[in-house]
């Protein structure tokens, strides 16, 4: 009895509140996205998506209750089995799943279908936490780096096979967690550098300018450095490597499937083909951009209402918000996400054991990636990637998986007083 009381009082209600606010805003926006003034159906009408989403929300609450009622040790104990089950489900999906648009993402029967790719996120998070909690596990050592990447790589490979590149990319967000857990900074500097050069190489028509810039930077570095032969050779090799990279990038891009190539090119010039490949981004930007400061008013949007934006109730749900509530509405939602993520960092840092903290950072990584990439793609800052906005986008699998992901951590956090400190 005493144990339970502590449990309830220790629940981080701020996080729970933000969760419900986001879910409700999302639900209202789903209604706005599918609303048709000429038909005028109620938000509760289960013949439209907002009604169905309400069912998902209801079941998500049931899931929350189950998670909160469960023993806090359950998730740690089941971490590896859950991970293995998910891997099997992912492996089976292409064989027993249902094909839609060339992708096989869901399994199930009748109208009840789940998307294993979504649930594999929390399973992988649990597995990584379990795997990395050992006191000896040190991410600055190559051996452990490879092991951690291995755990990550298995679901990635299976998801790419579906193929669902967008969801697969989510797993790379674990780099945030790896960063917290001590993966050396040089990898991030190198990675960000390569991405920056790649973006420049794709954005700038003539690679010669970029190559020139690299040469100048290398010369400056050499002049500023110790001018030892070793360093001069080292910088020169890196410079040449980067130049080779910029020139090979166009070749690599040209070898990508056409729709992925187009998505990348559209990022740099959305007007390249506004009615074709650029359609999604262009229409999405028009919808959001037309919202102005305060928006057109709830249910008054024209762009999202009349199907100008594809996938507007799922991946492009942010358009509805941007159009009807304007910049102020966007500000509120982004502020909520930023607050949630910051809160989660605090929560992760106050955990007494490494398992909880690693899992917490996995939650942060996954939510961060979805939040950042989803909104960035709707405003043309990132290529179109088919990933949902957490708690917002329509869909049972996505809402359930984010709910499970988040509430397992809330549960862990609420039970932290019962745990022994065993930080590595």
């Amino acid at each position: 009895m005493r144990e339970k009381d502590i449990n309830i009082n220790r629940v981080d209600w701020i996080t729970v509140m933000i969760y419900f606010v986001l879910v409700m805003i999302g639900w209202f926006n789903i209604y706005a996205a599918v609303y048709d003034g000429q038909v005028d159906k109620s938000i509760f009408d289960t013949s439209i998506n907002s009604g169905i989403q309400l069912v998902w929300i209801g079941t998500a609450i049931a899931i929350i209750i189950v998670i909160m009622a469960a023993d806090y040790r359950l998730f740690e104990n089941l971490a590896i089995p859950i991970y293995l089950v998910m891997l099997v489900l992912l492996l089976l999906t292409p064989f027993i799943g249902k094909e839609v648009n060339g992708q096989i993402l869901t399994i199930g029967f009748g109208s009840f279908r789940i998307q294993p790719g979504e649930f594999a996120k929390f399973a992988t998070a649990l597995a990584l936490a379990k795997f990395m909690e050992r006191p000896t596990f040190d991410l600055s050592k190559t051996k452990y780096q490879l092991q951690a990447f291995g755990v990550l790589l298995l679901p990635i490979i299976l998801i790419i096979l579906q193929p669902d590149t967008g969801t697969a990319m989510v797993y790379f967000s674990m780099l945030i967690m790896f960063y917290r857990e001590g993966l050396p900074q040089k990898y991030y500097v190198l990675g960000i550098g390569i991405i920056a050069i790649a973006l420049l190489a794709l954005g700038i028509e003539n690679n010669l300018y970029l190559a020139g810039a690299i040469v100048v930077i290398v010369v400056i570095l050499i002049l500023m450095g110790k001018k030892t032969p070793q360093q001069i050779i080292g910088f020169s090799v890196i410079g040449l490597g980067l130049i080779a990279f910029t020139y090979s990038l166009d070749f690599v891009v040209s070898k990508l499937p056409e729709h992925q190539q187009n998505r990348i090119m559209v990022l740099f010039n959305p007007d390249l083909d506004p009615l074709g490949v650029g359609w999604n981004v262009t229409q999405s930007k028009i919808a959001i951009g037309s919202g102005g400061l305060a928006g057109k008013g709830y249910l008054q949007g024209t762009q999202t209402k009349f199907d100008f934006v594809p996938e507007q109730h799922t991946d492009f749900i942010f358009c509805t918000l941007g159009e009807e509530f304007g910049w102020l509405g966007s500000f509120v939602v982004i502020a909520l996400f930023v607050t949630l993520l910051t809160r989660l960092v605090f929560m992760a840092e106050r955990q007494k054991n490494r398992f909880n903290r690693i899992y917490g950072y996995c939650v942060i990584s996954i939510l961060m990636f979805h939040f950042m990439i989803n909104i960035a793609m709707t405003i043309g800052l990132f290529p179109v990637v088919g990933i949902p906005l957490p708690f917002f986008s329509y869909g049972g699998s996505s809402l359930w998986s984010f709910t499970i992901l988040l509430f397992i951590f809330i549960k862990m956090d609420s039970a932290r007083a019962l745990q022994l400190g065993r930080m590595g």
Partner: protein, 600 residues
């Protein structure tokens, strides 16, 4: 070492939030182009074209109405051609035309409608109407073009056509857009603002497939079109029709005015054209053809052709002389043919005789006295003073300037001033002998047929006129006509001076225009012959009738028809009879005019 990493992660989270909000601020608040693009996307502005006002004649008979025509519209994204051969047969187009029209429409927009086949007639529309349902993406948009139950008065009524780029540039009202119809000539142009009505606008929301999703904001911003005002023209349809029958095959002008009001009863410019030819889909082709013709049927002669007034001007000279006190009815001059040529008649003559006989030397001498009143001892200066004083008189008769008729492009004619002669001959280097031809309406003098008809009205009214106009009422209300047509203009000659002039004009018919004489209606008239250096002289006649209570004043010009007493006087007489009695008692005269052999 790892202690600062959570801080780095929080900074990263805030940074991402800031980047997203900045970009959102840029596209949502700072850049309003997305708002416009959203409107273009989802809101269709549909203009509801108003019905243009109708035009009736003075008795309420319809002159101009609207005829529906049909534009076949296409939405390329929805369009399915099905069996091409059947389609081509149905719409009577070639495969090339189909491809060309379709591609043009696609280029404009694949989801918005554009014109596929322009201006389908009512008959064609009836034929294809039932088949349209087989072709998704095609629909009919109704427009209207002008139509004329009787093909008359084409110049006076004018025509409408698509607004030109230059007109669009000059339009400060912002009313017009590309493709709008606008009055281009005649009354259609002058009364454009009254006739056009007010456009209505409907804002309709459409979805991505162009499908109607109902009115924007429940039609809050929609406005209904308001039909244009109907206009009653002062034209008498039957008189106009009769006049055109008489003028068929000739070149010239007939202008008939109701003297008491200045209302134009009939305005004929021959050769004429069928106003129905300048409507609908053949406008461009027909206009080009008409424009190429050597007879210039588009040229609006009553207000744009100028001729020397000739002998008719002698009446104006008489009136100025009387008003100035230079002449009295008893003033006599000898018919001195050494001054200027004349025909044989009794000599000397008094003023009455001078008008009746159209005596040239009389006016040569009379005009010298009007001009040289010896105000200055210098004969050159004296002439200059006299000419300008005389010119002021003439201008009051509505000559040498635009009368202000309700049609565009009215010519002013010419009444030369001293400045003109100074320029041509040098200051102080011209005198009466330089300008004497003005005395008999020759020389530099030029008038339009409309100005001549107005002169007839002035003579009929004994000294005043209302600016001639084609409008009688707007929406049946004659007080709504422009104010300038309700103002009486005095010519500055006392009414009693006109008595003798009117008598002389009535008498003149027996000397020079016996064909015009009617048994029961007394006509006062004056013949003229406008000299034409390029061929036969132009036959001119002005008149008003009945002399004692004038109801019609008329000027007739028949080009290259010689002497005024034949073609012009006969035509005028028949017009007067038609208007006053509504029947023709002289079929032989009518036949003579219609046959048109005036030179013998």
């Amino acid at each position: 070492m790892n202690d600062q990493r959570p801080v780095v992660i929080i900074i990263f989270v805030f940074l991402v939030g800031a980047v997203l909000l900045t970009k959102l601020f840029m596209i949502q608040v700072m850049d309003d182009s997305f708002m416009k693009r959203a409107e273009r996307n989802a809101i269709q502005r549909i203009v509801d074209h108003p019905y243009r006002g109708l035009v009736y004649d003075r008795k309420g008979k319809l002159l101009v109405y609207n005829n529906p025509i049909f534009d076949l519209m296409i939405v390329p994204k929805e369009f399915e051609v099905g069996d091409t051969t059947r389609f081509l047969e149905l719409f009577k187009i070639t495969k090339e035309e189909l491809i060309e029209s379709y591609q043009a429409a696609r280029k404009y927009s694949s989801v918005k409608p554009s014109t596929f086949i322009k201006q389908i007639s009512t008959n064609e529309f009836a034929r294809i109407q039932d088949f349209l349902i087989d072709y998704p993406g095609l629909f009919i948009m109704t427009r209207s073009v002008r139509s004329y139950p009787n093909p008359i008065a084409s110049h006076a009524l004018g025509y409408i056509g698509e607004i030109s780029g230059r007109q669009l540039e000059r339009d400060s009202s912002g009313y017009y857009v590309q493709g709008d119809y606008v009055g281009l000539s005649g009354m259609e142009r002058f009364y454009e603002d009254e006739l056009r009505g007010v456009k209505g606008v409907k804002y309709k929301m459409v979805n991505v497939r162009g499908i109607d999703k109902g009115p924007f904001k429940d039609g809050e911003y929609d406005t209904a079109s308001v039909a244009g005002h109907n206009i009653n023209s002062s034209i008498d349809m039957e008189l106009q029709q009769y006049g055109e029958k008489l003028m068929m095959g000739k070149t010239g002008s007939v202008v008939a005015i109701e003297p008491k009001t200045g209302e134009i009863l009939s305005m004929i410019s021959a050769p004429f054209y069928d106003p129905n030819s300048l409507t609908g889909s053949d406008f461009g082709k027909n206009y080009t053809e008409l424009n190429k013709l050597e007879t210039k049927p588009l040229f609006n002669r009553p207000i744009m052709a100028t001729y020397p007034p000739g002998s008719i001007f002698k009446i104006v000279q008489s009136l100025i002389g009387l008003q100035e006190g230079i002449l009295t009815p008893e003033t006599t001059f000898a018919c001195n043919k050494s001054l200027v040529a004349c025909h044989n008649h009794p000599s000397p003559v008094n003023l009455f005789g001078a008008i009746r006989n159209s005596c040239n030397p009389y006016y040569h001498q009379a005009f010298r006295q009007i001009i040289n009143q010896e105000i200055s001892s210098n004969t050159f200066k004296d002439t200059k003073i006299g000419l300008d004083a005389w010119r002021d008189h003439v201008l009051k008769f509505g000559l040498g300037g635009q009368l202000g008729v309700d049609m565009p492009n009215e010519k002013i004619g010419d009444v030369p001033s001293s400045k003109y002669y100074d320029r041509v001959y040098g200051e102080g280097r011209w005198k009466y002998s330089t300008i004497y031809s003005l005395s008999i309406g020759q020389g530099e003098l030029l008038v339009t047929p409309l100005q001549m008809a107005n002169l007839a009205a002035i003579f009929a009214n004994k000294g005043f006129y209302y600016t001639p106009h084609l409008i009688r009422a707007i929406d049946g209300d004659n007080t709504k006509i422009p104010l300038e047509y309700q103002i009486k203009h005095e010519v500055g000659v006392d009414a009693h001076h006109f008595d003798m002039v009117q008598d002389a004009m009535a008498e003149a018919l027996y000397g020079t225009a016996t064909r015009a004489i009617m048994k029961d209606i007394q006509i006062a008239g004056k013949t003229g012959t406008a000299q034409n250096p390029h061929g036969e002289d132009h036959s001119v006649f002005i008149a008003f009738a009945p002399k004692d209570n004038p109801k019609i004043a008329i000027a007739v010009y028949v080009e290259n028809a010689g002497w005024g007493g034949r073609a012009a006087a006969s035509t005028a007489s028949l017009m007067i009879e038609k208007y006053l009695k509504d029947s023709i008692s002289r079929p032989a005269l009518e036949e003579y005019v219609i046959a048109g052999n005036f030179i013998y």
